[in-house]
Amino acid sequence: MMAIESLPAATRVRLRDGWLLVGVVATLALVPLISPSRFYVNLAVEVVLLGLWAASLNVLIGFTGLVSFGHAAFFGLGVYTTGLLIAKLGLSMAPALLAGVAVAAVAALLVGIVIVRLSGIAFALVTLAFSMMVFTTVWRWSKLTGGDDGLTVSRPPLDLGFVRLDLQGAAQFYYLALVLVLCAYLALSRFLASPVGAALQAVRQNAVRAESIGIDVHRHRLLAFVVAGATAGLAGSLYVLFRGFAAPDLLHWSASGQVLLMTILGGIGTLYGPFLGAAVFVVLQEVLSTYTQYWMLPLGIIFILAVRFMHGRGLLDLLRAMRR
């Protein structure tokens, strides 16, 4: 019997460094006030949204021990559900957002039910197959989605009944994104710190042992999968509202690879590590790309080194190690 072992139990998991979080959020809140142009504000939105996407992947990898090569599928479902509802049916922001999250969650549930009993490699390959299925459907069904040409989505107002906000400005949308991502982050934190979260980590460390002490491994994995999928869907829905454009690239396996890169880069040991990974990725992409078109190379090398020598623990642990 060839079991694929799960990730090393030595990975420590810290969920909330309270004051650090407050400091980071305060800094983030200042960004629009100190940015010379909206370009930097947009960069910050990109980091925050991609960071949430990477953090949701880490719920699977770092906390539950499941490696998915198809996490772009749920992000993309959020993008296209929200995008299509706005572009074709003229929905306003809130219902379109909620629908995006809901569709991603339901998809994660349906797929999850059948795949959580699979082992590491099989699980990874099925997630790959599923995401390529979604990609191909969106890409080829160009009458509906615009296919390779993409879909323009104008940002609708946020109609909360008692107030109607037209969030066209870069800074305005930034604050919305910041608030929603913070809420999602806190919710995930709570979830992972709860007894359910502890059970997930037990499953990650040793599924057989977890089973023997009465934890329903499949049920817990499914829960993690749905939570991760729904969160990725939220990130995707916000992303299409941010960019005003939906492209099938966001669903391709290379996009799944990029979010994996961000997660590993930031470190799988914490929930906020992937945000750091996303920041590094986005900044390098924007900054390095003006100097060289080969900016992926140093990223790829860092990634390989991170996996090879630090077993996925990433930048955060590297920084900590250097501080000592």
Partner: protein
């Protein structure tokens, strides 16, 4: 005394100079920035690089407008609309460009058109084909200097009118299955119906098609004489090579709707001999300006001037003409000046049409063959078989889908 006279002279001269300079705006020394965007990496990179060279050549030649240096700020859009949107936003908000130039694909110009209000600067494409950008989606800030696909089809129809063999031949359509390919296929079908040209089959190939053999076999089996092939330009060489290997090109004339680039001809050599191309430009066009252009281009870059370079040069010409006449460098003023821009380009006069912001330009139908004597060392080139003048190729305003700008 001599010294005081000369001092008075210089003071007068200085005063005169100052009063002339004083009428210029305070920011007189700041350069005029043009944001250039094209696919500079990936499959389309040779084309994007051609476009960049063409635009840069004119900017280098002209140098400055009203004492202000012209600067081309270059960003790589990778040929993807999502990236183009990001880079455009960066060019406008961060680099503070006064206009956007280049823009490689149809998808990109449509996406940029959707964001044009937010961007607030004129967007001039020198390469996108979709008629929609100056048709149903025409926009006060969107302009095009190259022919669009509807114009291409009109040019082809003009060629068909004079070519009985082609008119009476059996045509097969093989198109890439997405917006541009489907649009080009439909436009041809409409024109063919009007002229009584028979179309004996059509196939739509997925964008990631690597193996064209099935389509090639079907064309052979149907006994087609001509193939209308809107296939994206970077993989048209696959199609041509495979068609040649099956012996299809011996009996059937292929018309590559996106054209064939000179760098592709350099790579495949004689394999493409005889292939026809709907060319928006080619260095083989006989015009006094063309020789001047190719000389300057070769001197500067030591690369064969591809047709996208010629088109970008023209587009840059229109933009520079507008920038020199605009009341101010605000987006609205530059756009207003662009509406009446003209430029004496490598193959003749290029004039912008105010109604839909589509420039009036000729369309050339070409055929790959031995290159005429040239300094680039090019052995193969697209030679002009038919020229449809601007008056013939332009789409009547009421048929464009644009309501008027």
């Amino acid at each position: 005394m001599a010294s005081s006279t000369s001092r008075t002279f210089s003071r007068i001269a200085l005063a005169a100079a100052l009063s002339a300079v004083g009428s210029l705006p305070a920011a007189a020394q700041e350069p005029i920035k043009i944001g250039f965007m094209a696919a500079l990496s990936g499959l389309f990179s040779p084309i994007g690089q051609d476009m960049q060279r063409g635009a840069q050549l004119l900017v280098t030649q002209v140098g400055e407008i009203k004492g202000r240096k012209i600067e081309l700020v270059v960003e790589d859009s990778e040929g993807k609309p999502a990236v183009a949107l990001r880079k455009a936003d960066r060019l406008v908000s961060e680099s503070k460009v006064h206009a956007l130039l280049g823009i490689f694909s149809s998808a990109e110009i449509i996406a940029l058109g959707g964001a044009a209000d937010k961007l607030g600067v004129p967007i001039l494409t020198t390469n996108s084909g979709t008629p929609r950008a100056t048709g149903e989606r025409c926009h006060p800030m969107v302009f095009r200097s190259n022919p669009n696909d509807a114009m291409t089809v009109r040019g082809v129809a003009d060629w068909l009118r004079g070519n009985e063999q082609a008119r009476k031949g059996k045509w097969y359509i093989v198109a890439h299955d997405y917006e541009w390919g489907q649009g080009a296929a439909k436009a041809f079908k409409d024109a063919a119906a009007k002229m009584g040209v028979s179309i004996i089959g059509e196939d739509y190939a997925p964008l990631d098609t690597k193996d064209w053999s099935t389509y090639i076999n079907k064309i052979s089996a149907a006994g087609a004489d001509y193939v209308w092939a809107p296939v994206i330009v970077s993989v048209v060489t696959d199609f041509i090579k495979q068609a040649r290997s099956f012996g299809l090109l011996d009996k059937t004339r292929l018309l590559a709707v996106a054209g064939v680039t000179d760098s592709q001809l350099e790579a495949v050599g004689g394999v493409a001999d005889g292939v026809m191309a709907a060319s928006w430009a080619t260095w083989t066009v006989k015009h006094p300006n063309m020789a001047k252009f190719t000389d300057a281009y070769w001197k500067e870059y030591k690369v064969t001037p591809g047709f996208q370079a010629i088109l970008a040069y023209n587009g840059a010409g229109l933009l520079l003409d507008a920038l020199s006449r605009a009341g101010s460098l605000s987006g609205a003023d530059v756009a207003k000046a662009l509406e009446t821009a003209k430029f004496d380009g490598p193959y003749g006069m290029v004039v912008m049409r105010k109604f839909d912001h589509q420039a009036s330009v000729p369309v050339f139908i070409g055929q790959v063959g031995a290159a005429p004597a040239n300094q680039f060392g090019a052995k193969w080139a697209v030679n002009v078989v038919h020229e449809a003048a601007a008056t013939v190729s332009e789409v009547p305003p009421q048929e464009t889908g644009c309501k008027g700008l």
